[in-house]
Symmetry: C2
């Protein structure tokens, strides 16, 4: 059996998990891969700290176990890239820096396979990476980059080759789903739920990327590339997080038979991609509404085979690592002959104004008669059919009420709101909250 | 672009769906496969009838469209097997006859790839098929054989190569799940629910294979082969269907926070496989309990990446066909270099007496004092811890009550029941009903 030698760059939460599984399961993995899978080298700035959680042998670390300066680490990385005895490099440094990008590109150019969990760089700067892998005829494994251990990359790229992906809707950020679940199950405020998420290890000290929809957006951009071959510009993707969701929204959703979820949504019609990360009110008979806590769920709706749901842990050290190891085994087994890289198709990412959904629009207004009529008239004038005007909640200072529309575009809704503001500048006490309803 | 030519043997519900997708999506599939995917020939006894639902061109049918005798069909099949211009044969004849087995084996020996949805033959007579494919270095695609469009074969064979499958539990028979859902949601009797399933097209006129657990057993045997490499003897697999479930069981399950599902269960410990198809009481916080109607759901519990759930339509013409077409595209793309065939590992299928679960045992007895004590004593003597003795329901003639045990083996439960019968031969009015509880 030939050797298939691995180096790991960056031995944090995920990288150390990869090392652990490669060592623990070496003989089993080698049988599956028909190659002796050998972890040869690890580069990390702080070997002792990184080796500790899984008790990794310190001898694997470049530099013999002492802490490295960035320059030393770079030197070792370059040695690995030049080393003809290394067949595959695991990039678990993370981030979108030039350094990481160049490391990946140099590795691919040196005809080494790369496996990475780095969703951010693939979403924001993926184009040269995919192209360089293709030009150099080497594999780029990135199953771990979207929803950790859930095998959604392989499913979309390979399992649905006999079908056509019409629509993707997913819960792809565990932190946000944990917070929303706590807010809904235990009537907590956003801030209390966020604090709980941090205490439980589901949210970072700085949770911005998670709760802003940025992390979910990275994953959605990658799935769009896979399902539709489209290189969308990550910057142009609408990403709205859960920061503004409050108990008022949650109660209203519940009364409407819905659950609020942060949804990654994409659909292709002709050459146009409709996509966004947005909190949505998910109807309770949709399976996505039942997925709680830090769990991920992706729904893929296909032309021939209908709706599929995939549920699993979207993050975690060994969870994400297992997806990386799976990519390693597959690459070794087929000597890198299997390429998962999608063809690039010309597609246009449509402005979110063209997004078509039924919407729930919540207005907070002054409390006097006639406002409902004014609002409903302005909405009707934009050719939006109204499903329900519901739930007038009057308190001392204001009225809160919701208009649920039939399917219309976000642009129509915006125009209606603009008209209301123009006609009665003072009655809206807050910007109306617009939440799509997902059936 | 080279041609990749297909013949379809058997153009019933699934075969005709394959033909439709191959024709509808030809240009798209050809790009994905990097080969021109060409449907060349179809063999079916009744071309006109088979062509009708999707309006397939009659010119594709061997014999020019006229009905064929079995002898004529066999002649055309042999021509296809000899035809150097056919690269892949889709077997959608179905059944476990010698004729179908020999057709598959001859096709593989003629160095043609085979794609099939035939779970029965793979489960009952799969060994020579897998071996012949391997010896002849050709592909055997069978994604469609387990849960139709749900890509569970590829997931278990490839996506979890960096992990270890600890346990599989699945709802893998849509008919049974439809019937149980109707019984639970609408308080229907088994017979009424079965009739509804037949009217809705979810159950055959003769539903035996579905409601007896046989069909689910076929799928489970294939998954056991994939996950554990074990060639179990299908005959030895415990298969118990839903025929004996009644409203009494359903009410009791509901009071215990459970839902009754027909579960395909498999676990490997050392070299031993524990497996069965059995109705189980699934705890309502287990995702499987939420999957209703004719939908399938497979839970895979892995060592590193934890629990995954895959939900989708397990049957249907185009649904199953899309899985077959996906196998065709993948085989064409890689010129048949990718083999999904598992290595065979020596494993023993453990007798179901060793099956360990918490159990619910329902006793129907004569109604007089002392019986609960007698039953509980006999159970305790088998070193079974009792969790709850619940729900004494006394009516004029008898008492119905349930004992919920802590985890123990089926063998222990059987012995306890045997003891009760021996000590008080007349008190049991019916065989106690033993249902495992799935957390």
């Amino acid at each position: 059996m030939n050797n298939f030698n691995i180096a790991i760059l960056g031995c944090g939460t995920v990288g150390s998990g990869v090392a652990k599984i490669l060592l623990d399961m070496k003989s089993e993995l080698s049988i599956r891969a028909n190659h002796t899978i050998e972890l040869k080298k690890i580069v990390d700035l702080f070997p002792k700290k990184s080796a500790a959680p899984y008790n990794l042998p310190i001898s694997l670390f470049c530099g013999g176990g002492k802490d490295l300066s960035p320059e030393e680490a770079e030197k070792y990385i370059n040695e690995i890239i030049q080393d003809r005895d290394i067949h595959l490099v695991v990039e678990t440094i993370g981030g979108t820096s030039d350094f990481v990008l160049n490391t990946i590109l140099s590795t691919l150019k040196a005809k080494k396979h790369v496996v990475t969990a780095n969703k951010a760089i693939l979403a924001e700067r993926g184009q040269p990476i995919f192209q360089t892998a293709k030009e150099n005829n080497v594999c780029l494994g990135f199953e771990a980059s979207v929803c950790g251990a859930m095998p959604i990359i392989k499913i979309i790229r390979e399992s649905f080759n006999g079908d056509q992906v019409k629509e993707i809707s997913g819960i792809m950020n565990g932190t946000s789903n944990y917070i929303l679940s706590k807010m809904q199950e235990e009537c907590l405020s956003f801030d209390t739920a966020l604090k709980l998420a941090q205490e439980a290890g589901y949210a970072e000290a700085d949770p911005t990327l998670d709760i802003s929809g940025g992390d979910a957006g990275h994953k959605l951009a990658i799935l769009i590339k896979l399902a539709y071959g489209a290189d969308i510009d990550y910057k142009d993707l609408l990403k709205e997080g859960i920061r503004n969701i409050d108990q008022e929204d949650i109660n209203l959703a519940s009364e409407m038979g819905c659950t609020i979820k942060l949804i990654c949504y994409a659909k292709k019609t002709n050459d146009k991609i409709y996509a966004a990360v947005k909190p949505m009110m998910v109807k309770n008979d949709n399976f996505l509404s039942k997925v709680n806590s830090a769990i991920n769920c992706v729904e893929v709706n296909n032309k021939y085979s209908g709706k599929h749901f995939f549920v699993g842990k979207g993050a975690g050290s060994l969870e994400t690592a297992s997806a990386i190891v799976s990519d390693i085994v597959f690459t070794a087994k087929y000597d890198g002959k299997i390429s998962n890289l999608p063809e690039t198709v010309k597609c246009e990412l449509v402005d979110s104004d063209h997004f078509e959904f039924p919407f729930n629009i919540t207005f907070t207004t002054e409390d006097f008669p006639g406002i409902t009529g004014l609002v409903a008239t302005a909405i009707g004038e934009q050719k939006i059919n109204i499903d329900t005007v519901s739930h007038n909640r009057h308190n001392k200072e204001n009225a809160v009420f919701s208009v649920i529309t039939m399917p219309c575009t976000m642009g129509q809704v915006k125009k209606a709101i603009h008209e209301i503001k123009k006609r009665a500048p003072s009655i809206l006490l807050d910007d109306p909250k617009v939440i799509p309803i997902l059936y």
